[in-house]
Protein backbone atom coordinates (compact mmCIF):
# COMPACT_ATOMS: atom_id res chain seq x y z
CA UNK A 1 0.00 0.00 0.00
CA UNK A 2 1.30 3.41 -0.99
CA UNK A 3 0.41 5.90 1.79
CA UNK A 4 1.31 9.00 -0.22
CA UNK A 5 -1.03 8.02 -3.04
CA UNK A 6 -3.69 6.95 -0.53
CA UNK A 7 -3.65 10.43 1.02
CA UNK A 8 -3.91 12.04 -2.42
CA UNK A 9 -6.78 9.69 -3.24
CA UNK A 10 -8.63 10.69 -0.06
CA UNK A 11 -8.09 14.40 -0.78
CA UNK A 12 -9.34 14.09 -4.37
CA UNK A 13 -12.42 12.17 -3.24
CA UNK A 14 -13.21 14.45 -0.28
CA UNK A 15 -12.97 17.54 -2.49
CA UNK A 16 -15.31 15.98 -5.05
CA UNK A 17 -17.91 14.94 -2.47
CA UNK A 18 -17.78 18.37 -0.84
CA UNK A 19 -17.98 20.54 -3.91
CA UNK A 20 -20.28 18.48 -6.13
CA UNK A 21 -22.25 16.53 -3.55
CA UNK A 22 -22.50 19.14 -0.78
CA UNK A 23 -21.52 16.44 1.71
CA UNK A 24 -19.24 16.50 4.72
CA UNK A 25 -16.60 13.78 4.27
CA UNK A 26 -14.90 12.21 7.23
CA UNK A 27 -11.67 10.22 7.41
CA UNK A 28 -12.69 8.63 10.72
CA UNK A 29 -15.49 6.13 10.19
CA UNK A 30 -18.09 5.50 12.88
CA UNK A 31 -19.36 1.89 13.22
CA UNK A 32 -22.41 2.55 11.02
CA UNK A 33 -20.19 3.86 8.25
CA UNK A 34 -17.52 1.22 8.72
CA UNK A 35 -19.87 -1.77 8.35
CA UNK A 36 -22.16 -0.34 5.67
CA UNK A 37 -22.65 -2.73 2.76
CA UNK A 38 -21.72 -1.98 -0.84
CA UNK A 39 -24.64 -0.75 -3.01
CA UNK A 40 -22.97 0.17 -6.28
CA UNK A 41 -19.54 0.12 -7.90
CA UNK A 42 -18.14 2.35 -10.61
CA UNK A 43 -14.76 2.41 -12.29
CA UNK A 44 -12.67 4.30 -14.78
CA UNK A 45 -9.58 2.98 -16.59
CA UNK A 46 -6.73 5.25 -17.60
CA UNK A 47 -3.61 5.14 -19.76
CA UNK A 48 -0.57 7.37 -20.10
CA UNK A 49 2.64 7.55 -18.08
CA UNK A 50 0.90 5.09 -15.76
CA UNK A 51 -1.85 2.64 -16.65
CA UNK A 52 -4.52 1.45 -14.26
CA UNK A 53 -8.03 1.63 -12.87
CA UNK A 54 -9.84 3.58 -10.19
CA UNK A 55 -12.74 1.78 -8.52
CA UNK A 56 -15.36 3.64 -6.45
CA UNK A 57 -17.69 1.65 -4.18
CA UNK A 58 -20.70 3.44 -2.69
CA UNK A 59 -21.96 1.94 0.55
CA UNK A 60 -24.83 2.40 3.01
CA UNK A 61 -27.38 4.19 0.84
CA UNK A 62 -25.17 7.17 0.10
CA UNK A 63 -25.52 7.14 -3.70
CA UNK A 64 -29.19 8.23 -3.97
CA UNK A 65 -28.54 11.16 -1.60
CA UNK A 66 -25.32 12.07 -3.36
CA UNK A 67 -26.96 11.98 -6.81
CA UNK A 68 -29.87 14.15 -5.60
CA UNK A 69 -27.45 16.67 -4.08
CA UNK A 70 -25.34 16.75 -7.23
CA UNK A 71 -28.39 17.53 -9.33
CA UNK A 72 -29.90 19.99 -6.87
CA UNK A 73 -32.98 17.80 -6.39
CA UNK A 74 -34.79 17.02 -3.13
CA UNK A 75 -35.72 13.45 -4.12
CA UNK A 76 -33.32 10.75 -5.35
CA UNK A 77 -33.21 10.60 -9.16
CA UNK A 78 -33.81 7.48 -11.25
CA UNK A 79 -31.43 4.52 -11.09
CA UNK A 80 -30.05 5.55 -14.48
CA UNK A 81 -29.18 9.03 -13.21
CA UNK A 82 -27.70 7.57 -10.01
CA UNK A 83 -25.47 5.40 -12.19
CA UNK A 84 -24.54 8.50 -14.22
CA UNK A 85 -23.64 10.31 -10.97
CA UNK A 86 -21.45 7.41 -9.86
CA UNK A 87 -19.61 7.45 -13.19
CA UNK A 88 -19.06 11.21 -12.92
CA UNK A 89 -17.66 10.82 -9.39
CA UNK A 90 -15.22 8.15 -10.58
CA UNK A 91 -14.20 10.31 -13.53
CA UNK A 92 -13.65 13.46 -11.48
CA UNK A 93 -11.75 11.78 -8.64
CA UNK A 94 -9.51 10.03 -11.16
CA UNK A 95 -8.88 13.24 -13.11
CA UNK A 96 -7.84 15.01 -9.92
CA UNK A 97 -5.67 12.15 -8.69
CA UNK A 98 -3.59 11.48 -11.80
CA UNK A 99 -1.31 14.55 -11.62
CA UNK A 100 -0.07 13.33 -8.24
CA UNK A 101 1.07 10.09 -9.87
CA UNK A 102 3.18 11.52 -12.65
CA UNK A 103 3.27 15.33 -12.46
CA UNK A 104 1.04 18.10 -13.75
CA UNK A 105 2.59 18.23 -17.24
CA UNK A 106 1.90 14.59 -18.05
CA UNK A 107 -1.04 13.67 -20.25
CA UNK A 108 -3.35 10.79 -19.35
CA UNK A 109 -6.24 9.34 -21.34
CA UNK A 110 -9.27 8.50 -19.24
CA UNK A 111 -11.59 5.86 -20.66
CA UNK A 112 -15.36 6.10 -20.42
CA UNK A 113 -16.40 5.41 -16.80
CA UNK A 114 -18.49 2.30 -16.16
CA UNK A 115 -20.82 0.90 -13.54
CA UNK A 116 -19.63 -2.59 -12.59
CA UNK A 117 -21.84 -5.53 -11.68
CA UNK A 118 -21.40 -6.65 -8.11
CA UNK A 119 -20.20 -10.00 -9.44
CA UNK A 120 -17.43 -8.45 -11.55
CA UNK A 121 -13.80 -8.68 -10.56
CA UNK A 122 -13.05 -5.06 -9.74
CA UNK A 123 -9.28 -5.39 -10.22
CA UNK A 124 -7.94 -5.05 -13.78
CA UNK A 125 -6.06 -8.33 -13.37
CA UNK A 126 -7.56 -11.17 -11.33
CA UNK A 127 -6.53 -11.17 -7.70
CA UNK A 128 -4.53 -7.94 -7.95
CA UNK A 129 -4.30 -5.95 -4.72
CA UNK A 130 -4.91 -2.20 -4.90
CA UNK A 131 -1.87 0.07 -5.01
CA UNK A 132 -3.69 2.49 -2.72
CA UNK A 133 -7.11 2.79 -1.13
CA UNK A 134 -9.08 5.39 0.77
CA UNK A 135 -12.31 5.26 2.75
CA UNK A 136 -14.48 8.34 3.04
CA UNK A 137 -17.27 8.54 5.63
CA UNK A 138 -20.42 10.12 4.17
CA UNK A 139 -23.63 10.48 6.18
CA UNK A 140 -24.57 6.94 7.34
CA UNK A 141 -22.41 5.21 4.75
CA UNK A 142 -19.09 5.56 3.04
CA UNK A 143 -17.25 5.54 -0.26
CA UNK A 144 -14.35 3.15 -0.83
CA UNK A 145 -11.80 4.17 -3.43
CA UNK A 146 -9.32 1.65 -4.79
CA UNK A 147 -6.53 2.51 -7.16
CA UNK A 148 -4.94 -0.26 -9.21
CA UNK A 149 -1.76 0.52 -11.12
CA UNK A 150 -0.52 -1.83 -13.83
CA UNK A 151 3.06 -2.45 -14.75
CA UNK A 152 4.01 -0.37 -17.83
Amino acid sequence: MNDKIAKALYRAAALTFEELGFMFPSADLDPLQKYATVDAVGSVDFEGPQKGRLVVKMCGGVLPVLAANMMGELEPPTDKLQADALKEIANIVCGNLLPTLAGAKQVFQLKTPRVLAMTDDFAPTPGQAPTAEAHVGLEEGRADLLLFLLES
Binding site: T16, E18, A104
Partner: protein, 142 residues
Amino acid sequence: MALNVLVVDDSAVMRAIVIKTLRLSGVALGQIYEAKDGEEALRVLDENWVDLALIDINMPVLDGMDLIDQVRGNPETADLSIIVVSTESSETRIENVQRKGVAFVHKPFTPETLRQAILRATGVIDERQDSKSSVPGGGFDF
Protein backbone atom coordinates in the same frame (compact mmCIF):
# COMPACT_ATOMS: atom_id res chain seq x y z
CA MET B 1 -27.24 41.69 -18.85
CA ALA B 2 -28.85 38.26 -18.62
CA LEU B 3 -26.76 35.64 -20.39
CA ASN B 4 -28.22 32.95 -22.63
CA VAL B 5 -26.15 29.87 -21.82
CA LEU B 6 -25.60 26.58 -23.62
CA VAL B 7 -24.44 23.62 -21.49
CA VAL B 8 -22.86 20.79 -23.51
CA ASP B 9 -22.10 17.49 -21.78
CA ASP B 10 -22.99 13.88 -22.56
CA SER B 11 -23.79 13.28 -18.88
CA ALA B 12 -27.30 14.39 -17.84
CA VAL B 13 -26.10 14.57 -14.24
CA MET B 14 -23.19 16.83 -15.13
CA ARG B 15 -25.48 19.12 -17.14
CA ALA B 16 -27.73 19.34 -14.08
CA ILE B 17 -24.73 20.11 -11.86
CA VAL B 18 -23.53 22.87 -14.16
CA ILE B 19 -27.02 24.41 -14.36
CA LYS B 20 -27.49 24.18 -10.58
CA THR B 21 -24.09 25.82 -10.04
CA LEU B 22 -24.88 28.52 -12.61
CA ARG B 23 -28.03 29.39 -10.65
CA LEU B 24 -26.06 29.50 -7.38
CA SER B 25 -23.34 31.66 -8.93
CA GLY B 26 -25.43 34.81 -8.90
CA VAL B 27 -24.78 35.49 -12.59
CA ALA B 28 -27.85 36.94 -14.33
CA LEU B 29 -29.20 34.16 -16.54
CA GLY B 30 -31.55 34.27 -19.48
CA GLN B 31 -32.38 31.13 -21.42
CA ILE B 32 -30.44 27.95 -20.59
CA TYR B 33 -30.05 25.41 -23.39
CA GLU B 34 -28.69 21.86 -23.10
CA ALA B 35 -26.95 19.59 -25.61
CA LYS B 36 -25.60 16.09 -25.10
CA ASP B 37 -22.90 16.25 -27.78
CA GLY B 38 -21.20 18.61 -30.19
CA GLU B 39 -23.59 18.04 -33.08
CA GLU B 40 -26.61 18.85 -30.93
CA ALA B 41 -24.78 21.94 -29.66
CA LEU B 42 -24.21 23.17 -33.22
CA ARG B 43 -27.95 22.81 -33.93
CA VAL B 44 -28.80 24.83 -30.79
CA LEU B 45 -26.31 27.52 -31.81
CA ASP B 46 -27.79 27.62 -35.31
CA GLU B 47 -31.32 28.15 -34.02
CA ASN B 48 -30.81 30.36 -30.94
CA TRP B 49 -28.89 33.37 -29.67
CA VAL B 50 -26.34 32.12 -27.14
CA ASP B 51 -23.93 34.37 -25.19
CA LEU B 52 -21.89 31.68 -23.43
CA ALA B 53 -21.21 27.98 -23.95
CA LEU B 54 -19.98 25.64 -21.19
CA ILE B 55 -18.47 22.63 -22.93
CA ASP B 56 -17.16 19.24 -21.82
CA ILE B 57 -14.22 17.80 -23.78
CA ASN B 58 -14.90 14.08 -23.91
CA MET B 59 -18.20 13.48 -25.67
CA PRO B 60 -19.47 11.06 -28.31
CA VAL B 61 -20.37 12.03 -31.89
CA LEU B 62 -18.51 15.38 -31.90
CA ASP B 63 -16.20 16.05 -28.97
CA GLY B 64 -15.56 19.37 -27.24
CA MET B 65 -12.33 20.25 -29.05
CA ASP B 66 -13.86 19.63 -32.50
CA LEU B 67 -16.94 21.58 -31.44
CA ILE B 68 -14.80 24.57 -30.43
CA ASP B 69 -12.97 24.44 -33.78
CA GLN B 70 -16.28 24.45 -35.68
CA VAL B 71 -17.68 27.29 -33.56
CA ARG B 72 -14.54 29.39 -34.06
CA GLY B 73 -14.57 28.60 -37.80
CA ASN B 74 -18.11 29.90 -38.30
CA PRO B 75 -18.26 33.72 -38.65
CA GLU B 76 -21.65 33.77 -36.91
CA THR B 77 -20.34 32.06 -33.76
CA ALA B 78 -16.60 32.82 -33.91
CA ASP B 79 -16.77 35.30 -31.03
CA LEU B 80 -18.89 33.15 -28.72
CA SER B 81 -17.61 33.11 -25.12
CA ILE B 82 -16.64 29.54 -24.25
CA ILE B 83 -15.66 27.85 -21.02
CA VAL B 84 -14.41 24.27 -21.07
CA VAL B 85 -15.57 22.37 -17.97
CA SER B 86 -13.49 19.24 -17.59
CA THR B 87 -11.74 16.81 -15.27
CA GLU B 88 -8.57 17.34 -17.31
CA SER B 89 -5.64 18.08 -15.00
CA SER B 90 -2.71 18.00 -17.40
CA GLU B 91 -1.20 21.49 -17.70
CA THR B 92 -0.15 20.59 -21.24
CA ARG B 93 -3.71 19.78 -22.30
CA ILE B 94 -5.18 22.79 -20.46
CA GLU B 95 -2.73 25.10 -22.27
CA ASN B 96 -3.82 23.53 -25.60
CA VAL B 97 -7.45 24.28 -24.72
CA GLN B 98 -6.69 27.86 -23.72
CA ARG B 99 -4.83 28.47 -27.00
CA LYS B 100 -8.21 28.17 -28.71
CA GLY B 101 -9.33 31.31 -26.89
CA VAL B 102 -11.48 29.62 -24.30
CA ALA B 103 -11.49 29.68 -20.50
CA PHE B 104 -11.08 26.53 -18.42
CA VAL B 105 -12.87 25.37 -15.26
CA HIS B 106 -11.70 22.24 -13.55
CA LYS B 107 -14.17 19.75 -12.03
CA PRO B 108 -15.14 19.84 -9.20
CA PHE B 109 -15.96 23.53 -9.03
CA THR B 110 -17.77 25.94 -6.72
CA PRO B 111 -20.36 28.54 -7.75
CA GLU B 112 -17.73 31.22 -7.09
CA THR B 113 -15.17 29.51 -9.35
CA LEU B 114 -17.72 29.32 -12.13
CA ARG B 115 -18.82 32.91 -11.54
CA GLN B 116 -15.27 34.23 -11.86
CA ALA B 117 -14.67 32.20 -15.03
CA ILE B 118 -17.90 33.55 -16.56
CA LEU B 119 -16.99 37.12 -15.68
CA ARG B 120 -13.56 36.68 -17.30
CA ALA B 121 -14.92 34.90 -20.38
CA THR B 122 -17.78 37.29 -21.09
CA GLY B 123 -16.18 40.51 -19.90
CA VAL B 124 -19.29 41.25 -17.83
CA ILE B 125 -18.49 43.54 -14.90
CA ASP B 126 -19.07 42.00 -11.49
CA GLU B 127 -21.34 44.61 -9.92
CA ARG B 128 -21.47 42.70 -6.65
CA GLN B 129 -17.74 43.21 -6.07
CA ASP B 130 -18.20 46.97 -6.44
CA SER B 131 -21.16 47.11 -4.06
CA LYS B 132 -19.19 45.09 -1.44
CA SER B 133 -22.15 42.78 -0.96
CA SER B 134 -21.55 39.14 -0.20
CA VAL B 135 -20.87 36.98 -3.24
CA PRO B 136 -23.47 34.25 -3.73
CA GLY B 137 -21.90 30.85 -3.70
CA GLY B 138 -18.76 32.08 -2.04
CA GLY B 139 -19.63 30.26 1.13
CA PHE B 140 -19.55 26.78 -0.33
CA ASP B 141 -15.94 26.07 0.55
CA PHE B 142 -16.84 23.41 3.12
